[in-house]
């Protein structure tokens, strides 16, 4: 409003003309503001109710404990949630230490020099890189360059790189808000820099750090695009980990794609822990009782049940991390893109589960942050 717009008022006690209308406009803006805000919030309500109407009836015990199936009525998310769990464990294993240590370095240790500014520029830019670019990185570097295959390890690593900036930024903010006096007090009684950081700064910063970790993990759980690029399989009817007394079969020695031994003369001594049926390359079939051992030629096919030790071995990270996988969002995407309406019900149900997990995690993080803001007053 320029000066010329303002009429010169002779009677200073009179209300300026048009004031009521201006106030009316001002008050009625509140309605527009609330309306706009409600559209934002209404989206969440519409999302949840759409998913619930489409897929709510599919949520039951069997849905969680069934493999995907070509029959939509039987399709479940067992392999998807187990896959998600293993991938997220891998992600957390790499991202949490790397992110927290980077954050600590940048706030507590980093000298003001060109290398530090390059690191800061790198972190800031990583935060803005679209997730699908991380998929291209994983495809070119992990799958193709390092030949790690389309495995749980690669998926976990990729998501770890993706959420690294989230954890670094959260750690930095949390560490920065710890008052300088805490550090000075620790240093003045003879603590080294790392002792002060480890025993005093980090514990105070912990709630903020944990908030960042939860938000990062929640983002990793919902990420789809980068895992499509490294080939997260969409139809997986097996688990990378096994239980005792599950059907188990394997071939002795190295075989080609048709199951013929590469070195037919190689022999190997095996001991079976459960009763097993051995199909030898010459066509003979041998039954072995539990605990028996036998010298068998390469290419022998063993059909048995998994023992406790087999099951425990399959739970070890070095055993499952090389397996192929699917995850919740990819399973949902796959069902969504099927033309049959019944698969969309399964997709909606998977979406509900996914939404419940991510909203719970985000809610926990937001709650933690607001409680933190209230309770700590330096």
């Amino acid at each position: 409003m320029s000066v010329a717009d303002v009429p010169v008022r002779q009677d200073l006690t009179a209300r300026p003309p048009g004031l009521a209308a201006r106030h009316f406009k001002s008050h009625s803006f509140v309605i527009w503001g609330i309306l706009a805000t409600l559209i934002g919030l209404g989206t969440l309500v519409a999302l949840v109710s759409e998913l619930w109407v489409d897929g709510g009836h599919r949520i039951n015990w069997d849905f969680f404990w069934s493999f995907p199936s070509s029959n939509p009525e039987d399709a479940g998310i067992l392999s998807a949630w187990v896959g998600s769990l293993l991938v997220i464990l891998t992600t957390a294993f790499f991202a949490i230490p790397l992110g927290v240590l980077s954050g600590l370095y940048l706030e507590e240790y980093a000298p003001k020099n060109p290398i530090t500014s390059v690191i800061e520029i790198a972190v800031n830019n990583l935060a803005g890189v679209p997730s699908i670019i991380f998929g291209l990185l994983a495809l070119g570097l992990f799958v193709q360059g390092l030949a790690l295959g389309q495995s749980i390890l690669v998926a976990g690593l990729t998501l770890a790189l993706l959420i690294l900036p989230v954890i670094i930024v959260a750690t930095r903010e949390a560490v920065r808000s710890v008052p300088q006096e805490i550090r000075q007090a620790a240093l003045s009684v003879g603590a080294t820099k790392w002792q002060a950081t480890q025993h005093h700064v980090l514990p105070y910063a912990m709630p903020g750090v944990v908030t960042g970790i939860i938000i990062g993990i929640s983002r990793a759980i919902g990420e789809t695009a980068p895992l499509i690029l490294i080939g997260g399989l969409t139809f997986v009817a097996f688990l990378p980990i096994t239980q005792p007394n599950q059907p188990l079969s394997y071939t002795i020695g190295e075989v080609d794609q048709l199951g013929s031994p590469i070195d037919p003369d190689a022999m190997e001594r095996i001991t079976v822990s459960n009763p097993a049926t051995l199909s030898l390359p010459d066509g003979n079939v041998v039954e072995l009782a539990a605990g028996q051992s036998m010298e068998v030629p390469s290419g022998t096919y063993v059909d048995t049940m998994s023992s406790w030790s087999d099951a425990i071995a399959s739970w070890m990270p070095w055993s499952w991390s090389g397996q192929s996988f699917t995850v919740m969002p990819i399973q949902m995407f796959n069902w969504t893109s099927r033309p049959e309406a019944e698969f969309r019900e399964a997709a909606a149900a998977a979406g509900l589960v996914l939404l419940a997990i991510t909203l719970l995690l985000n809610g926990a993080a937001i709650w933690l942050r607001y409680r933190l803001r209230r309770s700590i007053k330096w």
Partner: protein, 301 residues
Amino acid sequence: MAADRDFTRKRLRFGERLVEGVLFLAAAAAIGIVASILYVLISQSAAFFREVPFLDFVTDTQWTPLFEDAHYGIAPLLSGTFMSTLVALAVAVPLGLLSAIYLSEFAGHRTRESIKPTLELLAGVPTVVYGYFALLFMTPLLQRFIPGLPGFNLLSAGIVMGLMIIPYIASLSEDALRAVPQSMRDGSLAMGATRLETAFRVVLPAAVSGVGGAIILGMSRAVGETMIVVVAGGQQPQIVTHPAQQGATVTAFIAQVALGDIQYGTLEYQSIFAAGLALLVFVLIFNFIAFGLQRRFREVY
């Protein structure tokens, strides 16, 4: 002096040096990641551009890598990305700004403290869920009003993308508006301006760089978004001139190729890296501008 010697000795303790080294390596990983991204994208794109002249990439109006007569013009993919982003911004900028102005200038403290976290919750919804919503809720809804709207179209994908970025724009703009000093509002109100006049003629202009930064960050999200457009936008790369058309975005093309059987080292395989490089360049430019704008609004006050 003795005290000085002790101090020096402590600084040189091996454990401390080791810790510092480990921390430095962790932080330097970020440089390694950025360098690997650039290396992978550039080296694969270089192989791509040895087969496809760069001029064709920029000027050709067809993207048909799977056809016998293959064309590699990035324009159709960029037009898809541009159109879906435009629709998203048309939804998110007015709604996000209205929300931000309401929350910062009109809403009470308690209203704000309960609405902002709920908006933040929206930012945590997985994008594949938004994709489902676009395909099976928004498209049927729009088809009632727009007869002849195809089942896959950039309009519903763009609208849902807009709903997705509202929280970013609203939250970041609100921060920028609130950073404007109270004295400026007080001055305006004392001169007889209403709250609405104060909000639009004093506070918003003062926060314009922060708000601009928020909008550009939202835009950069929309440009890089994959799942919504893959699910609801369509797969046919074509020059898009109308939002109700179907079309492929840069991200949708990359995902679509990855969903098929890709043979390593083929031109098709390399083309997704070239498309990715183009995407990254755009997004980094946007982020750079947004970052600069946001820093300016921090410096002013």
